[in-house]
């Protein structure tokens, strides 16, 4: 009796070569990486990815999960190990006290001299964050910078997305490609490039002086202005793409219907296009706002000493002050600040889907 082509037993056999090949690929890559000039990190990353695919698969098989669950199990395992576990590690550190030790924080409990258990864990670090104006101001300042950047990204991104969505097909693809093009260069390099534009003897000051518009060079570097420029520039594609995806679906007949019923182009935009693009606006704004809150590189490179952002505080606490417990508390609070808007976004999107 031969097994049917897609019987479970047969499928298990068909997948087994992958299980053998995965570790072999990693070993082979490790052996040849010198000649291929592959960085060790990359090989380790590939190895980790394959290990997870492999491990998730084997684990799923051992537990006897159906194959389609295993497909989900692999990314779930990835999220569990690289997101949830570090989150709990951070949470645990944030409850400890700082210590000059290795690692530089206290355990959560100790055995007392009398043999009882003494609990050291406390919310002291969180209370400290609230009591020190520096942290509160840094959070507020981060929210402000992220919020203003999001509004500017929206104001700039909406017309661009609208124009692309309304363009005829061959041009539309080219324009979309141009929006994504900056991603082909390193983010860090692009932010560095802005220094060349914004600094005292930079492109902008040189051109303006040459044109006779200004006598003194403008001070742009190491100001909040430079941070706004950096954030809006960097995250603009994240605003444009979801907005484009939304606007391109807009039925042209609706615009004609509005016009037919006596609406001017402006009224049509305000009463039809804009309300229908709200999901795109929310998605784009979240994609800009959330990473902007925790932004570290842009304020560090373009901002001045006054630019207060929580990403920088986090860095300073971890690496300058070496106060891991406070730094962990800062990170947890930031995470909560970011998660709340995501949850709101999710609920809005769900409502939208129910409507459709």
């Amino acid at each position: 009796m031969s097994a049917a082509p897609d019987s479970p037993a047969r499928r298990k056999l068909a997948l087994s070569p992958a299980m053998i090949i995965a570790p072999l690929v990693v070993i082979a890559l490790m052996l040849v990486r010198r000649w291929l000039f592959l960085p060790e990190d990359l090989v380790l990353l590939i190895g980790a990815a394959l290990l997870f695919a492999f491990g998730g698969f084997v684990l799923g098989k051992l537990v006897g999960l159906p194959d389609r669950w295993i497909v989900i199990a692999v990314p779930m395992l990835w999220l569990f190990v690289f997101f949830l576990v570090p989150f709990f590690v951070l949470g645990r550190i944030s409850l400890a006290e700082t210590m000059i030790a290795r690692p530089p924080y206290s355990p959560l409990w100790e055995r007392g001299d009398d043999g009882g258990i003494e609990i050291i864990a406390s919310l002291e670090n969180y209370r400290f964050l609230l009591s020190d104006a520096l942290y509160v101001n840094a959070y507020l300042s981060s929210l402000k910078i992220a919020g203003i950047s999001t509004i500017f990204a929206l104001l700039i991104g909406y017309p661009i997305a609208y124009y692309i969505a309304r363009s005829p097909e061959p041009r539309r693809s080219i324009l979309l490609l141009l929006v994504i093009l900056p991603f082909w260069t390193s983010f860090l390099l692009r932010v560095y490039a802005w220094i060349g534009f914004l600094r005292r003897e930079g492109v902008i000051n040189n051109v303006l002086t040459w044109a006779g518009i200004i006598d003194e060079p403008l001070v742009m570097m190491q100001t909040d202005f430079a941070v706004y420029i950096g954030i809006v520039y960097t995250y603009l594609p994240f605003m444009i793409l979801p907005l484009y995806a939304n606007l391109v679906k807009l039925d042209g007949a609706l615009l004609e219907a509005a016009s037919d019923l006596g609406a001017s182009p402006v009224t049509t935009f305000l009463t039809v296009t804009l309300p229908l693009s709200v999901p795109g606006i929310i998605a784009g704004s979240m994609l800009v706002f959330i990473p902007a809150i925790g932004e570290y590189v842009i304020p560090a490179l373009l901002g001045g000493p006054d630019t207060l952002m929580i990403g920088r505080i986090l860095w300073d606490e971890f690496f300058s002050a070496r106060d891991w417990p406070v730094a962990s508390a800062v990170a947890i609070v930031m995470l909560v600040l970011v998660v709340l808007p995501i949850m709101w976004l999710q609920s809005v999107q769900n409502r939208q889907e129910v409507q459709e």
Partner: protein, 378 residues
């Protein structure tokens, strides 16, 4: 006029040469690049008409409608609505409203807000607009659905919301693009009469674009049959069906048997046409035909007699064999093969429960009344 003084309004203004058209389309041409969508069309439509533009896809009917609504600008020609030249008048300022094929209801607005949309745009107060919207929804029997969103309605209900929205502003002309196209057959038939009732109640001029000849025949006061950007024939449904002007119109409206032939010698009443398929047939003489000219004889399938024995006294009769038969209930349709192999479509009404209907492979006689032939020259 003098024969019927009680009739104050002429219901067929197109028969009166002095009547003023309400909409006048003059030598309208629309080109998209090299493609001519509408080619030098002239058309007069009268007040309170329900005019149907009928044609296959790509015949230019929708483009013509879009030029009336102001969504397309004519390449050349002129459109007058109620005496006013529409050149340069944008869509939002025209006295027309359109019912879209997809209905184009605003998905984020409730039914009543959809209907009130146009009213608010002309500066009516919210209360006024709401009142009028409620009135319109009552007219289309949707007053209990005012708070619903379009996605909570059935296709037929959406169609009626679209109608109410387009009528709310009391347009001089209502343009309907395939108004019943998205409905299923049963609903379509009901809605046809509802549409006629609403049109008659309000007296608004309707211009309907459709590809469905049954729909056009049922709805229209007059039909304009379009093909390749030109109007092939304009006329009342009966006129289009009974006296088509060309083979295209004859074939497009209903089904037809076409026989090619040459005009024979003239006679006072009837003339003879020599055809390959039917031999020599007698048809009513038509003016303007010369002997030897090629003509086409159009014959509707339901005007053909199908009998087992030769029909006594028949002027035109040919023998044949039933090749195929389809029983549809109220009628049966037959394909009859003539002696030379030509197949003729015949339908016979099933008026009684005949015991012995004509069936497959029977030898039959196909007879034609001379008056039922339509002689076509193009």
């Amino acid at each position: 006029m003098t024969s019927n003084p009680a009739l104050a309004v002429n219901t067929r203004p197109w028969t009166d040469p002095n009547a003023q058209p309400f909409i006048s389309i003059r030598n309208i041409t629309k080109r998209f690049g090299d493609f001519t969508a509408v080619n030098d069309v002239s058309l007069d439509i009268y007040r309170s008409e329900l005019f149907c533009l009928l044609g296959g896809s790509g015949c230019g009917k929708s483009t013509l409608l879009r030029m009336l609504s102001g969504f397309e600008t004519p390449t050349s020609g002129k459109i007058l609505i109620d005496g006013q030249d529409m050149a340069g008048v944008p869509a939002d300022r025209r006295p027309t409203n359109m019912m879209f094929q997809s209905y184009a209801l605003f998905p984020h607005m409730s039914v009543e807000k959809n209907v009130a949309y146009g009213l608010l745009r002309e500066g009516k107060s919210k209360a006024e607009a709401a009142e009028r919207a409620a009135e319109m929804l009552k007219l289309v029997k949707l007053d209990s659905f005012a708070r619903r969103k379009p996605h909570q309605l059935s296709g037929g209900q959406r169609q009626r919301v679209a109608l109410a929205r387009a009528l709310a502003k009391q347009p001089k002309v209502l343009l309907l693009d395939e108004p019943l196209g998205a409905l299923d057959k049963k609903l379509r038939e009901e809605t046809q009469f509802e549409l006629i009732n609403i049109q008659e109640t309000l007296g608004v001029t309707f211009i309907v674009v459709t590809h469905d000849q049954d729909e056009a025949m049922t709805l229209a006061t007059r039909i304009g049959v379009m093909t390749d950007g030109v109007i092939a024939q304009i006329g009342e449904p009966r006129e289009i069906y009974e006296t088509p002007k060309s083979r295209f119109v004859a074939d497009f409206i209903g089904s037809v048997n076409l026989f090619e032939g040459r005009v024979g010698p003239a006679a006072p009443d009837l003339m003879r046409v020599e055809t390959e398929d039917l031999g020599s047939v007698s048809v009513p003489s038509a003016p303007g035909l010369t002997q030897g000219q090629t003509v086409w004889l159009a014959m509707r399938p339901e005007r053909v007699w199908l009998t087992r024995e030769p029909k006594p006294g028949a002027v035109n009769s040919v023998p044949g064999v039933v090749m195929d038969m389809g029983y549809v209930g109220h009628m049966s349709s037959y394909m009859v093969r003539l002696a030379n192999g030509r197949q003729v479509r015949v339908t016979q009404a099933n008026e009684s429960r005949r015991d012995n209907p004509i069936s497959w492979d029977e030898s039959v006689h196909v007879s034609f009344e001379p008056g039922d032939f339509r002689v076509l020259t193009q």
